[in-house]
Amino acid sequence: MDIFFNLFKYRRIINAAIAVVIVLIIGWIFAYEPVTRNFIAQDAVCNYCHLDWEFNPDIRLTATRPHASEEAPIESQPSCVDCHLPEGWWNTTYAYTHFLSFTDLFGHFRDRDAERAGDWIPPRAATAYRVRDRMFEYDGNTCRTCHIESEIKFKRDRGVNAHKLALEEQKTCIECHNNLVHRPVDVRKDAFKKTDSSKE
C-alpha cells in the first residue's frame, strides 16, 4: 500500500516526470531523424572509418565536397547521408546499425555471386558493389531526394535522350550514374539485372 501512497503523495512530481518523458519521447521521435542526419551522422563521423582513399584522388573529392557541380556553392553539397541514408524515420535507424557494424556484418553474408564462386573481390570493390546493388534495388531513392526527374534541366541532348529511354525502360539512376564520387570501381558486367518475374 505504501507504494500507492507514495505515488499519490508525489503524484505531481510523477506526473511532471511522466509528462517530461512523454515530451522527450515525442521530441525524440520528431528529432530522431533530423538530429541523426544533421548532427550525429556527419561526414566527419563517417570518415572516422571511411578514409580519404575511398574518394577519387584524381579530382580531389573530399567528404565535404563529394558530388559537386562546379557552379554549386559548397554549402549545397550533399553529405554522406544524403546518398547513403534514405529519408524516413525508420531508415534513420540504419545509421546506428551501421555504426554498430550490424549492417556491415550482415552485409558480408549477402549474396555476392562472385564471392560465392570463389573469386576474391577487393574490399573497396565489394563495398561499391553492395551499395550499388542497394541503390538499384531501392530505385535510387536517395538520388531522387534531391533530383526530381520532372524538374531536371538538361544541358545537352544526350541527357534528354538518355532519360527518355531510361524512363521507357524503367532504368534507375545508378545504372548510368556510377563512379561519380568515390574512387572508381568498374561496374560488374552482370550488375543491375532485374529479376525476371515471368520465371518466378
Partner: protein, 447 residues
Amino acid sequence: MKSDNRRKKFAFGSLPLIAGIFGITVTMGGGSALAGVADVDWSSVPTKTIKLFWPGQATYQWLRSPEHKRANLQTIEGQACTACHLNEEEEMGNKLVVENDLEPMPVEGKNGVIDLKFQVAYDSEDAYFRFQWKTLNDYAGTAHPYLRYNGEEWKAFGYPKLDEVVQDGEQPGIYEDRMSMMIDDGSVENFATQGCWVSCHDGQRDNPDRPSKAEVMDNPLFKALKKKDVRKYLPSTRTDENASWDMGKTQEEIAAIKAAGGFLDLMQWRGHRSNPVGMSDDFYVLEYRNSDAGKNPFSSNVNKKTQEPKYMFDESKVGKKSVRIEDIRKMETTLIRETNAVPFDANVDWKEGDLIPKYLVSREDSKGSAADNNRSKGVWKDGVWTVVWARKLGLTNPDDKALVEGGVYTFGFATHDDNITTRGHHVSFPMTIGFGAKADIEATKLD
C-alpha cells in the same frame, strides 16, 4: 518497258551525252564509266541531310570501357548510340576534332561536322544513290600519294594528314577524297544500333595500341591472311569478349560466319582511284577489310623488285611522262592503264621532283564481284562533290549484301575529306533504308 529504255540509256555508248549532262571532262579515259544514274530525275527524290561527324578514336573497345561514362554497360548490351547521342553529331564532332582524350593527333583546321545530302531511289534493276557534300578545301580531292624521283631513286611522296610525317611537315598531305557506305541486312550483331563502330577497333591504323608490323605478321590469323596491319573487322571473328585484334578465330570458323552472311558490305567511291574510271570499289568487312572476289579498279604501281613505278604517263596522251607538284589538283593525275599509261621506262631522263602516281587504275582490269560498282561518278563543282552511284539489285555474290525490293538495310556513311584516311573520316550513326519498305529513309521507287 520504261526500265528497259533506261537500261539502254545506261549503255556505255551514251557516254558523251551523259558526260555532257554532268559537265564532266573525261580527260584520261575511264570514259565508259557513267551509265545509269545520270538518267534519274533527282529533283523528284527527297533529300535527307545526314550529319557526319568526326569520331576520333572512339573504338569498339573504348565504347565498352568505363571511359565511355554512363554508357559502357549499355553499349555492351547493344544499346544504340542514338539512345543518348541523337542530334548530338555537331556537338560531338566539334568536340572530338580538336585535341582531347580521343584525338591525340588533331588535324589543323579540320572541321568537326559535314552535312551530307543524301538521296536514294530504285527501280526494278538498280538502286541509285546520290551524295552531295561541301569539301573543306577549294579543290577536289583527286590527288593521291605519288612516287617522286629525288635524283637517284623513286620515293613515296604525299601522305594522309594523320600521319606523323605530315603533321611534322616532312611530307605534304595528299590523299584522295572518298565516300563510303557500309551495309548490313540484319546479320551482324549490333550494327543496327552501333553501326560502323562495331568494325573500328584498337590496334587498327591510327587507333590506340597499334601493334608493330612484326607482331601482326606473327599472329596466326594475320599470318594466314598475309596481312601486315590491322584493319576493320567484326567482333564475331574474335574469340575474346573484348574482340581484340589478335584473338582471331580459325579460318574455318570465319568461313562459316561468312557463309551465314555475318559480314558487312563496304563500298567506297574514291576521288583518285575509282572516280576517273566511273567506278567505286567493293569490299566486305569480316575478319579484315577484304576485297570482294575478283579485282578492284586500282592496284599498286610500285615494282616491288626495283622500287620504281610499273607504269608512267603516256606522253602522247597526257603531254608528259610524269607530273610535277604544281600539276597536282590542277589537272587529273590518275594513271589509267588502258587510257593514259605506258610501261615505265627507267632510261628516261627523269628530273628531280618528277611524280608518277603510286597507284594504277583500270576499269578494264577490274572484274568479278569487286567490280560490281561500275556505275558511279563524282563531279566537284563550286566546292561541292556530287557523287551518283548505281548498284545492281539482287546480286548473288557471296561477298555482297544483296539489295532487293521489300528489303530494309542498315547503312552507315562516311566521307574522307581533306587528304586523310583511316579513322580520319566523318561518319554517320547507322540508319535504315527501305526499298519499298518502311525505314528511316525510304527509297523512291522510279517508274
